[in-house]
């Protein structure tokens, strides 16, 4: 029973470059979430997917951030023209869409923008 996986585990990039972060949810989980945790802060909601649709994008901090999900499974979070304030741990979580109330998290991707 594989859990949520994320790649890469660490990403160092230069300011202005684009980055892609990947999430593989638990098999069969229809709900997928992206959060980020900045230093010393709690987890901050970014976006929610139900299947391939994203009915709640309210947490995306700017139009440089986008995400997609294909096949009701893998999701990619893209950050364009990265800024230093984008440095954080980006966490993905999935939840069973039928009766699941609990979100299960992946290990996260630590993004550092130099």
């Amino acid at each position: 029973g594989a859990g949520v996986s994320q790649s890469p585990s660490n990403k160092v990039t230069e300011k202005g470059k684009d980055v892609e972060l990947r999430c593989d949810p638990i098999s069969g989980h229809t709900a997928l979430y992206w959060y980020r945790q900045s230093l010393g802060q709690g987890l901050e909601f970014l976006i929610y997917f139900q299947g391939n649709s994203a009915p709640d994008k309210s947490g995306l901090p700017s139009d440089r951030f986008s995400a997609e999900r294909t096949g009701g499974s893998v999701s990619t979070l893209t950050i364009q023209r990265t800024q230093q304030e984008d440095s954080a741990v980006y966490l993905c979580a999935s939840r069973s869409g039928t009766d699941g109330l609990t979100q299960y998290f992946g290990p996260g991707t630590r993004l550092t923008v130099l």
Binding site: Y48, A93, T102, Q103
Partner: protein, 113 residues
């Protein structure tokens, strides 16, 4: 505005004693509460949850208490073990829609041998 607050950034207890972690919230529309434990360089691990229709839920050494009138919940760990040392996050689920979780900033628990 912070809807979920964990006012103690850190807590230190002796092995074998009780650890009590506290959490306050402001949104009365929250209907489900969760505690996650997080070790360094790992993702949060689900620990225990409680529905707003209950006031207590117990799982082994872990018990969560909910006081709706005070908008307060607490996590009790008895007895505390050194392996419990981690950052504990309180989270609340907003009803309907995405059911996204709103997190507190966490409390770092250290259990001393």
């Amino acid at each position: 505005d912070q809807q979920v607050k964990q006012n103690s950034p850190s807590l230190s207890v002796q092995e074998g004693r009780i650890s009590i972690l506290n959490c306050d919230y402001t949104n009365s529309m929250f209907d489900y509460f969760l505690w996650y434990k997080k070790y360094p360089a790992e993702g949060p691990t689900f620990l225990i949850s409680i529905s707003s229709i209950k006031d207590k839920n117990e799982d082994g050494r872990f018990t969560v208490f909910l006081n709706k009138s005070a908008k307060h919940l607490s996590l009790h760990i008895v007895p505390s073990q050194p392996g419990d040392s981690a950052v504990y996050f309180c989270a609340a689920r907003s009803q309907g829609g995405s059911e996204k979780l709103v997190f507190g900033k966490g409390t770092k628990l250290t259990v001393n041998p």
